[in-house]
Symmetry: C2
Subunit: 291 residues, 2 copies
């Protein structure tokens, strides 16, 4: 099935726009949980913790977004935990948006696409429904990821971090910002992969921390799903969340990572605290949909 169409349908069915980010920040995993494992059981620890997060939040979540870097830093144990976590999400009926921000040219971009989406000759090693990518290299770095209708990409447009403006907010001689120029490319790609929902399989990452940019970018990205980081821990703005949706309250997916994976009351309530945090985030985001 067409990626964007399936996501839009899931948003409707679940009454949710929430993406749960899975970020194994080592220092944030509760001590009471870590204490149950010996140092050579890191793979089990990572898999057990985050598969429990998945189970506790799957009713509220449209997708899960593992942050590749936090798994990669642990080497083989992180890699195997990530593979098992992906299998667990898929066998639970969930969707995987891999946050790896990959980027390269031509045949090398194809090799990354193979890693996440598979190819004619190789199965995917980290099977994902969608992938974040960086568009600095232009379209021949992005097209290899756009071969299958049932997979999506989210191109970095306006990121949520404090220094994102250093490059992304620079103004071109035609009046657009650099982020807007990237957005226009993404919109072209979204239009050319449009499904019945009106949305295409090329989406854009636009942070919730910059409300004014959100409004301008939503207008330019009419056929692109937005992936919106910065909700919760990073202090994203409610107005930016509202502005990320189309007139029917569709077209954007709001990510929360730390606020759901590491709730303050974990020590008392365990993964029930994760369940509550996910439901709370889902409901809060639904309350921000435009009328």
């Amino acid at each position: 099935m067409h990626f964007a169409d399936e996501i839009i349908e899931l948003c409707r069915e679940k009454g949710s726009r929430l993406v749960v980010g899975l970020d194994p920040h080592w220092s944030l995993i509760p001590e009471s949980f870590k204490n149950k494992y010996s140092p050579d059981q890191r793979e089990s620890l990572l898999f057990d913790y985050f598969s429990n997060v998945v189970d506790a939040s799957i009713k509220a979540a449209v997708m899960f977004k593992p942050q590749s870097a936090f798994f990669e830093q642990f080497g083989q144990s992180g890699y195997r935990a990530l593979q098992r976590l992906i299998a667990h999400i898929h066998s639970s009926g969930g969707k995987v948006l891999m946050d790896a921000k990959r980027n390269d040219i031509g045949t090398t971009a194809s090799a990354y696409a193979t890693t996440y989406f598979g190819s004619d000759t190789l199965p995917p090693v980290l099977p994902s429904d969608a992938l974040t990518v960086n568009g600095y290299l232009g379209s021949d770095g992005l097209l290899p990821f756009q071969k299958c209708l049932d997979r999506g990409i989210f191109v970095l447009v306006k990121t949520s971090n404090p220094s994102s403006g250093e490059l992304q907010d620079l103004i071109l001689n035609d009046g657009r910002s650099v982020a807007e120029a990237v957005a226009d490319k993404v919109q072209e790609m979204a239009l050319s992969t449009q499904g019945r929902s009106g949305y295409g399989n090329a989406g854009a990452v636009v942070g919730a921390t910059y409300p004014d940019h959100m409004k301008a970018l939503r207008r330019r990205l009419k056929n692109a799903l937005l992936l919106v980081p910065g909700y919760g821990a990073q202090g994203g703005d409610d107005a930016a969340i509202t502005a990320s949706f189309d007139g029917e309250g569709m077209g954007a997916l709001i990510n929360s990572s730390r606020g759901i994976c590491f709730p303050k009351d974990f020590e008392f309530n365990g993964f029930d605290a994760v369940r509550s945090a996910a439901l709370h985030a889902r409901n809060h985001i639904q309350s921000l949909l435009p009328n």
Copy 2:
């Protein structure tokens, strides 16, 4: 030792500016070599082939640049082959420039830095002397990689691919191109990490396929080492190679991947063909140094 200083010294000692790219394009690995391995021996095949390339070219090469994507696509076998290859390069006295084009914000960028350079609490899983990175997210995505003086980063500035101009050549309202604006940031970072050689630990990727851009960027990047892809198979320009160096013939590293790893006469001469190709590339590049 300071990364850039060590590289400049190696360039002088070896009389070379050559970086050998290690790209396991499956279809380019000679059939006569692949035939010796069964399908479940992919790790050995990859390690054996590319460690032989390293042995045959190490006299001519200043660094080796494994392309991460081509290893990642093979999953565990590619991952283990890459780990063994890194160990082989280091035990042979060689330097590893990992071409992974990583990029993310804050703590996530730190997790990538941990993967390649290690941290206070974790050893690196893919120990590298330098890493290619993508600077679209601004300086708080780059600074986590710049903690150690003995490691380098190469930020994508002007890439060698046909569509690199879509974003990188756009002109800002101050007259600079987007690539030049990124270059100016890299130059700042190079200046703040400058060693005795005059070069800093932040370098820039500038393709050999755009000679005019090379001249302009070399002028802006006075204290940055340039990593120059596009020589050989991609049709890079001799004038661009010459323009990549400073007045003393230093400050640039020229990458060749396919032309050295997969020479046409491999079927007749095996890894002696690799040795000849590396020496030939080294000598040709030396002949292009400015007088």
